[in-house]
């Protein structure tokens, strides 16, 4: 059987869950490599993927016999079929953080499920540890992102708008064979950089501007995520203290990221250092990266997770001075046995264009 499905089945078994309906398309892509509209059923004995005529041919040509997945066309499935899928299951799991209340009721009724149980992100938890192929895809996405940054340093000129820079990022990614953006790029210049979640505007880039660029692409479905804060013409003196503090903490965090490191402590170390200097870290220090640009684990003040070899996470401290400016520096990082490797490798010193 497809090894990811086999692993999920083992995990379900360990929790005494006898069947599962998987409807989150990202989880389906992870488990069986299929991107289509459809639903994956793990019944007592079988793995069944139900899709429609638009995708049947593509799905059947992608899956192999060793996947052990039965593909059904939705139009051939009768009411009795639906009722029989889970008839030998004492309980059936579902994705409670993805499925709407209305779908939850629909599934229960259609499949005649008596005991429909929450699975607490069982697939998302499996996705936390990346295998070699996944790491290679993320590595490639990071490489394209580094190249894009280099290209932007030549491209960005005084007089351009933030939106023009954001468009160039998208154009470059497409040209370089990425699958597209991992998320809507942030290009925030001057005072706009003071908002952590700024959206590119028609603001014109001017001499003396600071520019925060937070961007990433997808490669074979896997994301990269990098932020650099650069300067136009010269670096304003008032910014230096903040920039140095953010950079110091970003680098220190890289030193502290290793197999076994505690995410809550990583966050606290940066937040404490910022507070000593009368600043604060108003968002998480990082998050997992994979098929989703934000996935488990969060590196924040609440949940405690121990980093493990082959997790991929971001390291992205930021300080934001309201009405003035902001600085954020971010890498996508692979956790290794002995430490970590930054997969995005662009320069983090002062870059003046």
């Amino acid at each position: 059987m497809n090894p990811r499905l086999q692993c999920l089945r083992n995990r379900l078994k360990a929790q005494d869950i006898e069947g599962m309906i998987i409807s989150n398309p990202v989880n389906i892509k992870y488990l069986i490599g299929i991107e289509a509209e459809g639903i994956l059923l793990l019944t007592r004995k079988e793995n069944i993927y139900i899709t429609d005529s638009r995708y049947i041919e593509m799905v059947q040509s992608t899956l192999t016999i060793t996947d052990e997945i039965i593909v059904d066309d939705i139009k051939d499935i009768t009411e009795e079929d639906y009722q029989s899928f889970f008839s030998f299951c004492e309980n059936v799991g579902f994705e409670e953080e993805y499925v709407t209340y209305s779908k939850y009721k629909e599934y229960m009724h259609r499949y005649r499920i008596n005991n429909f149980v929450e699975t607490e992100n069982i697939v998302e938890k499996q996705r936390i540890i990346k295998d070699e192929e996944e790491i290679e895809n993320i590595r490639k996405a990071c490489e394209i992102t580094d190249n894009c940054f280099k290209h932007l340093l030549d491209f960005i000129k005084i007089g351009m708008t933030e939106k023009e820079v954001a468009h160039e990022i998208q154009r470059y990614f497409d040209e370089q064979g990425a699958d597209g953006l991992a998320f809507d790029s942030i290009v925030a210049s001057g005072v706009n950089s003071s908002k952590p979640h700024a959206v590119p505007t028609d603001k014109i880039i001017q001499d003396g501007d600071i520019i925060t660029i937070d961007f990433g692409c997808k490669y074979n479905g896997y994301c990269s995520d990098m932020t650099r804060t650069i300067f136009v013409g010269y670096v304003k003196e008032e910014i230096r203290e903040v920039y140095n503090l953010v950079l110091k903490n970003q680098k220190q965090t890289l030193e502290e990221m290793y197999d076994g490191a505690n995410t809550k402590i990583l966050f606290k170390m940066v937040d404490n250092d910022f507070k000593i200097h009368k600043y604060e870290l108003p968002h998480a220090l990082g998050h997992g990266v994979g098929l989703d640009v934000h996935e488990e684990p969060a590196i924040g003040p609440r949940k405690e997770v121990l980093l493990k070899e082959n997790m991929v996470v971001t390291d992205e401290p930021g300080i934001y001075i309201p009405e003035k400016f902001g600085v954020r520096i971010e890498d996508t990082v692979l956790i290794t046995k002995s430490g970590c490797e930054s997969l995005t490798k662009s320069d983090k010193g002062y870059i003046v264009i």
Copy 2:
């Protein structure tokens, strides 16, 4: 009180629902004009919007006293506050098609709700009939879309890729002051046009290609949606029968769209005419357009809705010949008392570039 909220309150009252939690951001934007991360509570006596420090200032400066909305910062709300909001409500409604099962449980627990009831798209149903301001926004989005199409006819050249054309659409919309794309543009040339949901590829546009362009922008949050199928160099003879049949049905549907028309019959008329000619309509004939590009009502084979004055819907028949080509022609249409007005006005005859 804000008239849209008042109307919703009246509708809830008619259904004996005494409170409601609104979490779908599009519904919140519709009801109170706010785009932020937050949640809107209609309690027995008050309208409460809960958001966080990032948005508080913007929200408070947008709302006026006549809106009658209390704005709360999430960090100031205690457990007791949550429990008191609905303490005088016999029942509380929620958006069962938006809220995940996990959120549903979280809300019930946090707000101590005993009787949490489904509201069957009550806000979405209110959104079906557009007011003057909404229509003006959609009209403006359609005008920008028409202008973009005119621009594309000059812009598209043999040797360009589909992706380049898609980028130009986005660039043009940004330049013209639209809020951005209403949805990912479809630019499907040659055989790619045979897939109704094609994604722009690196395929190069060639002499003799047919190109289906399905695109739209947002203006003040309101969407446009238009499709035109054009030709490069010349029109292949085999395409003419299909193009003529699609265009005839698109125009006939415009004749049949008026206050009182039955959506199921509209669909059937086109589907029957296609079947007479050995083709079929593999998707809905149309859908509502507003803050979402796809909203109620669907014009398809299943649900029967009577069109009403000031609904805005699409009219988009299409025929797709596998492995060969496809033709779709689509307008965004305003239903009037006596008939309808196409808000997208671009030429639908044979356009050869």
